[in-house]
């Protein structure tokens, strides 16, 4: 098969991969912040629910979670199309890791910041959103960048539940044409490019947010 044709088929798959990333990333962020905050500040029973979610999704295989959502849940009356199942599984999985990032970053803000906020009589909501969160956010960016890259690579799992993403198409093309080297070289480069774009994006974001915090891009 001509190389140009291979590229165009793979790029179509790459679009599907990007779509999954674009949908799963916001879901992961919402889960990370939501459950991260519950883990830190919610009353006991709700906090335990958050811990169960986090430990379950961190402690089991992402592929098996995907299979459960797509193949097993329908037996219990919950059916999803492949795309939804893929986005939900990846979003919940990466989100669970994200909760720990949120928790760690909040804990890393010095206690004196909280005390100054009390002394200035800020309400507990103001303390959280105006004083603690903006400082914690900067610390969250680098590990969030890691997780985003992790997500891009994990999307290849959805090829196993019939979604025609980059990996799925590469596998199919390779079986058909036997041009294994070219095809998987292109796939490798594409995943690498996606990861680099995210890495650069997060670095820019970190720089933007860190004015005054003395931790510019150099991580000091």
């Amino acid at each position: 098969m001509p190389f140009g044709e291979i590229i165009s088929i793979l790029l179509e798959g790459a679009l599907v991969t990007l779509k999954i990333v674009a949908l799963a990333l916001p879901l992961a962020a919402v889960m990370a912040f939501g459950f991260g905050m519950l883990r830190l500040y919610a009353p006991k029973p709700i906090k335990y629910l958050a811990i169960i979610y986090i430990e379950f999704f961190r402690g089991t295989s992402a592929l098996i979670q995907l299979y459960w959502i797509y193949f097993v849940l329908p037996f219990f009356g919950f059916s999803f199309d492949a795309m939804t199942a893929g986005v939900v599984a990846l979003g919940l999985n990466i989100g669970a890791y994200g909760t720990e990032v949120v928790r760690g970053a909040m804990a890393s803000v010095p206690k004196g910041q909280y005390e100054a906020a009390v002394a200035l009589n800020f309400s507990s909501t103001q303390r959280l959103w105006r004083i603690l969160m903006p400082q914690a956010l900067v610390n969250m960016i680098p590990p969030f960048g890691n997780l985003a890259i992790e997500l891009v690579k994990a999307t290849s799992l959805v090829s196993l539940i019939t979604i025609a993403d980059l990996t799925y198409r590469a596998k199919a093309l390779a079986d058909m044409t036997l041009q294994v080297t070219e095809i998987f070289a292109v796939v490798l480069v594409l995943y690498f490019l996606f990861a680099q774009v995210l890495a650069i994006g997060f670095r820019v974001l970190e720089k933007k947010l860190s004015r005054g915090l003395g931790r510019g891009g150099l991580g000091q």
Partner: protein
């Protein structure tokens, strides 16, 4: 004599099994400048932190401006204070910290205007007018747009003072405000406090290791040891003719450094 502005009555404070205060009594008059000296671990900072509502108490009552700080008066007597009560009581108090605790993500000016705007509901123009005036007072007008990490320790602490004053507290708590500074930066911070003390417009409670400074600005000096006031009196008397042996020992050790 009128009612004291600050009054500790039989206060008990523990950290786990460690007793900091037991049946502790202490009071400060309106407009008085009181320095607290003593060895570390004697409960000096804890006293300020209880007043700033950063540490609770296990027993007794603390009154500020005639109202219990950690309790609420009800028909059935005193009950532990809720957040609303603490929020209301905190407007009497302001605190300057040993490690400044400036908000690193805000400019110098915003460090000062944020609380007046968000807590007291002042407009941006009002808050900035107050900030400009205070920055002038602490000699930091030209640094208004800088960020805390761009300042020296002495400059940070002067901003810390301005930030506390912006809330117009009637009681200013100064917790070892020069202890984290290089020696050559101590005076620029103490000068600011000297000027404030001269005006005598509010009550000041300082925990300090700067003995000459305590002697210079205080109306009264209290020597703390092991959670109790061992000796208190006019600065001249405490520093030149301490009566208690523990005070003498502490001051001798300090002077010989």
């Amino acid at each position: 004599m009128s009612q004291p502005l600050i009054e500790f009555q039989g206060v008990e404070k523990r950290f786990g099994d460690t007793v900091i205060f037991k049946d502790f009594n202490f009071s400060v008059e309106d407009g008085e400048i009181v320095s607290i000296i003593g060895p570390s671990g004697s409960g000096k900072s804890t006293l300020l932190r209880i007043l700033m509502t950063l540490e609770g108490i296990e027993g007794g009552v603390v009154n500020v401006a005639g109202e219990p700080l950690w309790h609420k008066r009800t028909a059935n007597g005193l009950v532990p204070a809720d957040n609303k009560h603490l929020h209301r009581m905190r407007h009497h108090l302001g605190m300057v910290f040993q490690h400044f605790n400036l908000f690193p993500h805000m400019s110098v000016k915003r460090n000062i205007t944020e609380a007046p705007m968000r807590v007291q509901g002042k407009t941006k123009a009002e808050a900035e007018a107050i900030a400009d005036e205070l920055l002038e007072l602490v000699g930091m007008s030209d640094k208004a747009d800088m960020y805390p990490n761009e300042l020296s320790g002495g400059q940070k602490q002067r901003v810390g003072i301005a930030r506390a004053l912006a809330m117009q507290p009637s009681i200013l708590l100064l917790d070892e405000i020069t202890s984290a500074l290089d020696p050559e930066l101590v005076d620029e911070v103490l000068d600011v406090i000297r000027n404030l003390a001269k005006k005598h417009s509010f009550t000041m409670l300082l925990v300090t290791h700067e003995m000459y400074f305590a002697r210079e600005i205080s109306d009264r000096v209290c020597f703390f040891d092991q959670g109790a006031i061992v000796e208190e009196g006019e600065p001249e008397q405490i520093f030149t003719a301490p009566k208690e042996t523990r005070t003498q020992a502490f001051l001798n050790a300090y002077m010989s450094q």
